[in-house]
């Protein structure tokens, strides 16, 4: 009986160790997750301006989105029905809310100012590579190279980001925000400086 009890304890201990080992593996099968804040170089990832302009946000480039002028019917023709549309009563902004994203236009210029994507249903395609909310940081390393740069400014945000931009561009950018605990994309943001 004592021997049986010993064997039982041994089996349980092994199951616990095996479970812990599996838990430690990330979704790409790597046995450890390096913390990108400690391992990756710092800075923006510069691509050609034609490649930057070709980035698609749920299927559409910035120039295609700007071509809507922020008009409701035109925006709907791009991405289907939005949940709500609001106009700020003190500033010229029209904000479209989708289940998975927010899209804002300046109503005086008709130009896009912000896209905030919070759901994997809205992928972005950068250099032909699809990235979406929920992807692991290691996927970006595989797609864009192991030396992909990150930006981490804890005084500003507890999340680290991967920034894509092109040389000489000083008015807009694409940021991919990562959850620092899970190392998963938790938001993708296009922004334009007024």
């Amino acid at each position: 009986m004592k021997k049986l009890k010993t064997i039982l304890i041994f089996l349980v201990a092994n199951i616990v160790l095996l479970t812990a080992d599996l838990y430690a593996q990330d979704k790409t099968g790597n046995s450890s997750i390096d913390n990108p804040v400690q391992t990756q170089p710092n800075g923006r990832n510069l691509i050609s301006c034609s490649a930057f302009d070709a980035i698609t946000y749920n299927g559409h480039t910035i120039s295609q989105i700007n071509a809507t002028g922020g008009i409701q019917s035109s925006v709907q023709s791009l991405w289907g029905s939005y949940t709500t549309v609001n106009e700020n009563d003190t500033s010229p902004e029209r904000l479209f809310m989708f289940d998975e994203a927010k899209v804002a236009f300046n109503t005086e210029t008709g130009r896009l100012t912000t896209i905030e994507i919070s759901n994997y249903h809205w992928p972005v395609v950068i250099l032909g590579k699809e990235i979406k909310v929920g992807d692991q940081f290691n996927k970006l390393k595989q797609e864009f190279g192991s030396n992909i740069k990150i930006i981490y400014k804890p005084a500003i945000s507890d999340r680290y980001v991967v920034s894509f931009n092109c040389s000489g561009n000083d008015y807009d950018g694409l940021l991919i925000y990562f959850n620092p605990a899970s190392h998963e994309v938790d938001e993708i943001k296009y922004y334009k400086i007024p």
Partner: protein
């Protein structure tokens, strides 16, 4: 008068009377400020001050936001680059 990049709902309700010393908003990273700092376009946490003169029915149409005016004309207390009031400009 509009202040940009403030904390959501940190300002008094529309129609409020403002007195000297009242808090009229709390600085935050709203709008695209956080992204701009992360991306290195600016290092400064800042607020935009926008003043427009209301014209026409405006404001609720989403089309008419009024003529832009120089905010400095409405600020009687000036501050230096260190954030200290400049002597003789107090309101």
């Amino acid at each position: 008068m509009q202040f940009g990049h403030l904390k959501e709902n940190s300002w008094p309700p529309n129609g409020s009377t403002i007195n000297v010393g009242d808090v009229i908003g709390i600085q935050a990273l709203s709008g695209n400020l956080e992204a701009a700092i992360l991306d290195g376009y600016t290092n400064d946490v800042h607020s935009h001050i926008i003043v427009r003169k209301r014209i026409g029915p405006g404001w609720d149409t989403g089309l008419d936001y009024g003529e832009p005016l120089n905010p400095e004309d409405f600020l009687t207390t000036k501050f230096n680059s260190n954030g200290n009031p400049i002597s003789g400009t107090d309101c």
